[in-house]
Amino acid sequence: MANRTYEVMYIIDPETQGDKIEKLNDAVGKLIEKEGGTIVRMDDIGMKNLAYPIQKKETGHYVLFEIEGSGQEIAELERRMRVNDMIMRYITVRVDEDRKTAAKLRDKREARSAKRASFRPSTENQQTTEAVDA
């Protein structure tokens, strides 16, 4: 199956100890690799204030993963995250398609501006220098 890119973010209970958090992150990484995904990026963002309380807690430990894979590892990962007491919240977002359309838009815009520049080679430069002089 075509490769997909996902962003997985989860919030860990602020009361868990540091080594437990590390262990959890390692476990997540191992699970992904076992299921055939690759980790593009792993970012331990750390403690942040929540915009609203979750489970009566005002802060949370944020962790972000960027994963490439078929989608199978995501299903397994979500199942595990759902039952894990330390994880207060999680989200998975598929990003590859949006990024692709963004790249397409950018290319289009660049092509257009290049075309425009080639039509008016010198007038633009003259105008800008005049503006500076004035």
Binding site: I11, A51, Y52, Y62, L64, R89, I91, D98, A102, R106
Partner: protein
Amino acid sequence: MAEKDMEIMDVKDISLDEEVIGDRPRRYQRRRPRQLVPDYVDWKDVDFLLGFIPERGKIMPRRISGITARDQRRISQAIKRARSMAMLPFVAD
């Protein structure tokens, strides 16, 4: 005189409740600022998204921000994602 009422408020800090002035629906003639929205709207970029959230915490309507329908869809999606991860409030007071 009605003209004068129309050029009220700065885009950023209007509260939506103030919009209905008088009894008939308002026609919006305000000039639309060309807002720059990046090609990829990142739902983790809280600072950027805050530009589309007035004080109350609601999503700014398109008629106020003046962005395209497509951008509005992408931004509101991003805001909703950020909300569910407690990076943005559902209601701010």
